[in-house]
């Protein structure tokens, strides 16, 4: 536990000092959300219709963005060797990295999303579902993303590969998120979608650190 906190604190500090591009996520999120109305045209009728989906897609892209360098810095400067030799297990390291990634991207997206909902004129009934899906969905993105980041560490064309690997894994999350928001706007009960998102999160929590650790072990050589 001490090791976990220590690792999270270090990553947060690095993100804050600009050592990593973790903060990139939110900025990207906000910028993209600002750009879409320009691209699509400020049609009052169409924005609320597509707003929920756009917010989610952008959140997903933002998560993808900062993932590539999740382990790359530590790999390049030899820190990963030392982390492996330390008393902290690779599973804990994976979990810590995912939590730090979520804190520097997911949480901020979570906080920013109501603002964007306002920007897009989403009906007020969509606010709570949006925040709820963000809260359940973004940690899954970080956890699953860690697997991809570890798998592609040191690979040729790592970035492209990462996107290729994660896209199919992210799509189910996206489908249920968007489904929940649409459902909420249409006045339907969205408990099933939220349950499924919660299930994804639990599954990711159980499996992702293990898979990430297995992938990291291969990357150290």
């Amino acid at each position: 536990m001490i090791g976990l906190c220590l690792l999270i604190r270090r990553d947060l500090r690095l993100a804050f000092r600009g050592g990593t591009d973790a903060m990139m996520g939110v900025i990207f999120f906000v910028l993209a959300a600002i750009l879409f109305p320009f691209g699509v045209g400020p049609d009052a009728a169409i924005l609320p219709r597509i707003g929920g989906g756009i917010i989610w897609v952008v959140a997903l892209l933002a998560a993808l963005l900062s993932l590539e360098r999740m382990f790359a810095g530590d790999h390049e400067d030899g820190s990963l060797d030392l982390l492996y030799l330390s008393p902290v297990s690779l599973g804990q390291l994976a979990l810590a990295k995912a939590i730090a990634h979520w804190l520097t991207s997911g949480v901020l997206l979570l906080i920013a999303s109501p603002v964007l909902a306002l920007l897009y004129n989403l009906p007020s009934s969509a606010f709570l579902p949006l925040v709820a899906t963000m809260a359940l969905g973004t940690p899954t993105l970080s956890l699953v993303g860690a697997i991809g980041a570890a798998l592609t560490l040191g690979a040729r064309r790592g970035g492209v590969l990462l996107a290729l690997l994660l896209l199919p894994l992210y799509i189910p999350v996206l489908i249920f998120d968007a489904g929940a928001i649409d459902g909420a706007i249409a006045g339907r009960d969205i408990t099933p979608q939220l349950m499924i998102l919660g299930g994804f999160l639990l599954a990711a929590l159980a499996l992702a650190p293990w898979a990430t650790a297995a992938a990291l072990r291969q990357a150290i050589e």
């Binding site: 530590d74 400067d77 030899g78 030799l85 330390s86």
Partner: protein, 224 residues
Amino acid sequence: MSIGIGNRGNVQGLTTHKLGCIRGERAVFAGLDLALNPGRAMLLSGPNGSGKSSLLRVLAGLLPAAGGRVDWEGTDVTEDRDGHRARVAYIGHADPLKPSLTAAENLAFWAKLYGFDPDIEPALFQFAIEPLADVPVRYLSAGQRRRVTLARLALGQNSQAGPTLWLLDEPATGLDPGAVSMLANTILAHLSNEGVAIISTHGGRLDALLNDHADRFDMHEFAA
């Protein structure tokens, strides 16, 4: 080379048996036997690309051996990986420092993660970098960075139950003569504490300073 081999029942320190290493489908070395008693250092020499770094990584457990085994006190280290990791202090070619953190922050992180004494002052002092403690590593010169990396050794040394097996890959790179002496003293203190150290080198001041406590090992003979 084979000091202490023979009475397998009570082997001390580190021994390897027919150790081999493959990198990128090419054998780097093969059939390598070495033995090292507590309190001794081994100076690893050999031309560029002869496999010094690879050997140190295999010994640290960072790289899987392609054949043979590494024993600590007579038992295979792969049988107790956690125990072996706790035993090893590894210094590689690169400096595992984050440029945006200060020297002190970098060191304090490793100290806490490894469960060493969180007071890093003595370690900074040992490598004469107290004045740089609060400078972000980004601004340090090449030699100053190397000193910060090496101060990690002092951290473990000043704690109880620090690592006993030091694996140092050209640790003196970029150090001025004063800093080389500091490093030599740190290593000698480790050896006098019944520690073991394997140090890759291309000759120089560090070799001379450690001469009385070190065996020499030339990788050239084992090139595959």
